[in-house]
Amino acid sequence: MTSAATPTTARAPAGLSPARRFQNTVMGGLILLATLIVVAPLILIFFYLLKEGIGAMNLNFFTRVPAPEGETGGGLLNAIAGSVEMLLMASVIGVLVGVAGGIFLSEYPRHPLMPTIRMLSDVLAGIPAIVMGLVAYGLIVLKFGFSGFAGALALGFLMIPIVVRTSEEVLKLVPLSVREAGLALGLPKWLVTLRIVLPAAAGGIITGVMLALARVAGEAAPLLFTAFGNPGVNLDPRGPMSALPLEIYRGATSAYDENQRLAKAGALLLITLIFVTSLLARRFSRRR
């Protein structure tokens, strides 16, 4: 449409009117300002935690459990151990179901169940984490009591849609000719999928798993009534377990300075791990 007007605008360039120039500059400035406002919280949060938390990150922080209320010198070993164990258990669920879902969506696109599973996976991605906590509570905690396993189940459910989405995308990026080459060699479809397509997409799938881990590692809401928290180190998934985000939540809402100090150090540790994982994941997907 606009090209029709081009031939008629053959006048000598008159330069911008001051009003338009002014508007252009002002809007550019506002956009820059808005971007600064958007980025500022991240930098403020990181440096606040660095300033407040780095002092508490000593050997005790990694080797001790929180001191009894009112005492000082504790650490967050219980939370670190609990987080690691629950994330490992959650990734078993998340990776197994997530990658299988990705394979199903990308390799069996004509299956009658495909649209349903794609839609439900998208829907699961939007369900608030705390609601998943309520579901895991009803499923496990009501019968067996608070447990690390219940927490891991809630986290695993949250991981599934993220892994499904990324693995479906990267599997679809593997060229069809690669699959056809495998089939032409007489390989059955399952071998082509497992030995040719999956390895070709492995980098992207690992990226997706790392992003999913980074996302659920910071979730405290689904753990509130499932893993519940534990003042001591517990490695038995049948018992209540602590986690970094849980300790941060308890510490930040606690009245004791010592707990608040641990919460800030825990937040620094958590946020650093999450940032490193996200950045590594992005690097990894770039190189692919």
Partner: protein, 336 residues
Amino acid sequence: MSEPARRDPTPARLSSSSDRVFEILILMLASIIVLVFLTSIYQLGKDSWPALTHFGLAFFTQRTWNPVNNTFGASSMIAGTLITSLVALLISVPLAVASALFVAEYAPKWLANPVGYLIELLAAVPSVVYGLWALFVIAPVLGRWQITFFNPEFPDRLALYTKCAGLWADNKTTLQCFFVPSSGAGRGLALAIIILTVMILPYTASVARDVIRLVPADQREAMYALGATKWEVISRAILPYARAGILGGVILALGRALGETLAVAMVIGDSQDVLRSIWGNASTMASVIANQFGDARELLHRSSVVTLGLTLFFLSVLVNYVARLIIARLTPRGIQ
């Protein structure tokens, strides 16, 4: 796909049975997604049944939420969820779109990538960390300003507060009083809105950035060729082209905001009273679940809290569905 081609030759017969096994195995694992969805509905439905049968639809319109009398109505926290989410959305959308424009249109490449990184990291910060920051950093700043309303050194502010406190005591408020702080703690509805705004910014921003990048270069060049300034290109050629995709991003952000739990629960003050000041304590559905489920001993109380979860479940399903519909229908392919 290549199914018919493999059926005929004899060697393929061997593999076709193992292919069936593999397909069934993958289907079974993938069906766990369906199972999770159905289990969630069943579990939430079962646990909220006592409250739903006891109160009926009045649960959603009743305002009283009183564990002592076993009377539960969710309208005040439904309102809290909607108010916090929509106001946060209103503030965050212009900021998010502007930052997307900066990354996609203004910044040179060496700057655009790091800024894009930073905005994505904003989405990776856990909810509890936002809550901690809001409690320890923003709340004291707000509190310092709020305290001036109770300080005799500022007589006009004190007079305003005294006038409003009288109104509040009768459960009334005026437009002016609605913006007068009711306590000096810094916590409350306003802080929840502030932190929610920050938290949902990256969702709109990253979708908007992707969509803006997909606007064809022709579109921009045609406008520049007419002698338009950069802002005119953005406002008349880029934003109208990208608006459907941006709208999808906005609705995704709304979905996030509705379910955001701990950061809000930590700062909003968990009160189910009528809202008389934007600085006052309030609650959202998610914050009530986080703050009360653990302490809910009575069956009806517990069941009412789960009903909030069920409501939230369906609300987020609906919002996400609409968002994906918009993104799928109205934008060029490639932004998912």
